[in-house]
Structure formats: C-alpha cells, structure tokens
Amino acid sequence: MELNAGTGGNGSHKTASERDEVAALESLQFTDEIRRLMSAPGGDNASSFTALLELPAPQAVQLIQSPDSAKLIAAPAPAPAPAPAPNVDDFRGSFQFPFNCGLIDRAARFSVFAGDGNINGNNKSNSPEPTSYNSSASLQKPVKSEPAETESSQPLVSDPTVENRSVKRKDREKVKGSSKKSKTSAKESSDDAEKLPYVHVRARRGQATDSHSLAERARREKINARMKLLQDLVPGCSKISGTALVLDEIINHVQSLQRQVEFLSMRLAAVNPRIDFNLDSVFTAESGSLMDSNFSGMVIPMMWPEVQLNGNRQQYPQQLHLDAFQQPVSGREEVCNSYITPENSLLSYDSSGNSASLHSNQLKMEL
C-alpha cells in the first residue's frame, strides 16, 4: 500500500510540460524498443511488446510506422479493431501519455510480479510501464521522479526487460538487423573485460576471432583505459589524441616533476643553514599544546644565525679546511650545546607566542 501511495503521489506531481517531454522521449524509445522486439522472437517472454499488445506482428509494425512520434502523441495510432478492448485502449492511452496517473495507480495496485506466468489483462497493461520506466530511468535525466518509481518496480522486473534495456542503451542510434545484437554484446562484454579476470569477448562483425587477437584486443582496451586515466592526471593532456603524443606529455610531466623535486631540495639546502626544522610535532600531534612548543623552535633558530655569523666572520674566511673546521667547533661547542638541548626538549617546552603559533597553524593548514 505504501507503494501505491508513493507512486500515486509521485504521479500527481507531474506537470503538463514534463509529461509532454516524457511522452515524446518515451515514444522515441518505444519505437526503438518495438523494432528490436520485433526482431526478437516474439512471444517467448510475456513482457514482449507484441504479446502485450496482443496484436499480430505486422499490425504492431503498422503502429510504429504510422509516421512519427508526434502523431502518436497527438492521437492514438490507428489500431486495428480485433485488439481486445481494455488492454489496447489502456495501452493506447498510455502510448499517448504513458505516465497517466491512472496507469501509475494500476501499476501500483497490480503487482508486476507477473513475469512469465499469469497473463491477465491488468498485468499486461502494466508490464509495458516497467519497461518504459526502466528505459526512462536509464536514459532520462530531466524527469527525476522516475527513478523513484522505477526503483520500486525495478527489482520486480524480470530479466528479459533488464537485458533489453541494457542492450537498448547501446544501440539507440544504430538501427540495424541481426548484427546489432552481436555488436552490443561484444561491446558489453569488452566493457566487462576491465573488471572480470576472465575475458568473455564475442567477436565483432568483421573481425578476427582468433584467441590471440581477442586477448590482444582486450589488452589493448585495458591499456587504453589506463591511458585515459593518465590523461586525466596529467594537466593539459586531455586535448591530445593519439597514444604517442599522450605518452610524450606524460614523460614530460614526470621529468618536470622530478626536476621540481630537485630544485626544491636545492632550495631547502640553501635555506637550511639558518633554520632548524622541528615542525614534525605540528603534523604528528593532534593537540593544541604541542603547537605552542613550536614557538621555541622558531625562536631559537633566530638566535642561531647571529652566533654563527659572528663565528664565521671571526674564524672562517671562506675555506673549507678540516683543521679550520675543528677550531671553531671546539670554540663554540658550549654555545652550540646550549642551543641544541633546548631544541631537543621542544616537546616539553611550553610557551605561548601568538604569532608563532599562528604561523605554525598556518603551515599545518597549508600542508
């Protein structure tokens, strides 16, 4: 009963323009579906169109070919007489305007669990609706309330309709004969080839059915999918077509990234002598107090350069001799030690410097 309420409510919300749009699109889909169902052996599943109409095939075709959707929308197609009244009338009504509230109610009321079994009048008129609903759900975006309805009926729909829908999705534009089926199934299966460990690919029309070539083809498609991903990753690569050029772009990008890393490490090496890095506490710690400790990390390095510069001027002209190294080191060891120990005990050091803590917060945020 909640189904009834839900669908009834949804149906009533449709506006006239929405309905027309829906009906137009619906009729287009119907023609496609009808054609495909024509080619399929009719009547094997209860949900096939001709069975629903209870019309012999040519008359159903006549229904289709009565020119266009506009006519179908505008006026009911010239349906031949012998059709049993309630079904066809309902259906004609639905054909003109498939999402009639009354039909929706009927759909809700009479369950679509029908499947292959009971074919009574009501069920038959209802079963085209799930197909239309399903197709619309898969194909339309503007009518959003559709999916809600279809979801209710979707699990109830028998497999053939689902299969039909998915196949139909592939060949909307191509209206061919029997080759259509093989093509779409190959396409579907090759799509699945990405996900399944075993590749079930049916040969496309006019292509070799060698096991080798099949495997190669599957592999090539996997590689193409990967290339597409890479194209998205690398900026400015989506416009380029052709694998060789895309690969060139990717190579350039990787090289530039590696060079950037080198430049940045050079920069950090140049920056380094003055400042010490004790901000790992910023990233590991989740508590605010630890961020305060960074203040000391900031303060101490500021004092370092003074001492170092003094030492430089006095004891180091420009050279890098090991002896010269030793002297100043020994000379300033005490000073260095006194600076090193507070650094090491940063975590325990507690001070509140607003600017410093904000600074470290900023860095943490940026990172």
Binding site: H212, A215, E216, R219, R220, K222, I223, R226, M227, L229, L230, L233, T243, A244, L247, D248, I250, I251, H253, V254, L257, Q258, Q260, V261, L264, S265, M266, R267, L268, A269, A270, V271, N272, P273, I275, D276, F277, N278, D280, F283, T284, E286, G288, Q308, L309, G311, N312, Y316, Q318, L320, P328, V329, R332, L358, N361, L363, K364, M365, E366, L367
Partner: protein, 167 residues
Amino acid sequence: MNKYNPPRMNPSSLRSRFATRFLRSLSEINAQKPTASSSSPTEIFRRYRRIKVAADKSMAYSVRSRRTWSRAMLWKLRTRPCGRRSVKTSTIVRKTRHEKQNKNTTTATTTGEDGVVSGVEADELRELVPGGEAMDLYNLLDETAHYIKCLTTQVQVMKKIADFYSP
C-alpha cells in the same frame, strides 16, 4: 583569546606520512652539520644531495612496498651508498638485485602484448619510473599514475616547507 582549531588533516594520508618523515629527516640533516661553512657551495651541494635522497627515501617509505616503483626505489637507495664500501657486499648485492629483477621479469606477461604501440616512449617512461624496466606496458602505466600522484604530493609539501622557511 580566541580558540583556533585548525582543521585536522588525515594522519594516515600519503601527504601527512610523507611530510612527517621528510621533516624528521630534514631535522636530522640539519643536526648533523653543527656549524657554518654551510654557506659554501660545496657544503650546500652536499646537503642538497642528502636532502634529495631524504625526500626520495621518505616518499618511498611512505608508500611502503605496495608499489613496484617504491620497492625498486628503496632497493636502489639501500644499495647505492653501500656500493662503495666493499667488493664482497657489492657482489652479493648485485646477485640479489639480479634475482629480484628476474623475479620481476617472470611476472611480466609473456602472452601477446602489444609492444607495437609506442615502443620508444614506453622505453623512456621505463627509464623515468623506478623499477620500470621489468614491467609490461599495462603495469607500467599503472605505476606511472601512482608515481605521478606521489611526485605531486612531494612537490607540494616541499614547496610549502620551502616557502614557509624562506623569508
């Protein structure tokens, strides 16, 4: 006093893992050279080398062994400095390295792969991505994607740090 709660970053993201490790190694590098003469170009160059190795190492460690390129990079980093030390160890190292490469080559599919597609560029890519020599094209592309992602993270973090510390 206003309470400022900074947004917590995900502690297990690649970025935070890399940042933590890299900062730690940076502080180690700085602690190593106690004094000045750090402004001389040689010293700077030496430090640059060390920092670069530290960056690569931290990135490879952040990725662990989940990826072929990180494994190859870690391997390279481990054997490179030891290569100078003694001949014995280097031969042992070389042997095990060959074993590892052989292992990698056996995993490469021998069924018909389309080496026809983009042969030259694939080789170039193989040179760029660590550990790429022994991979077929599909895995190579996979590794490249992950490698690019990690490199961009690395660049971003290092840039932020450098910006932060330059006046």
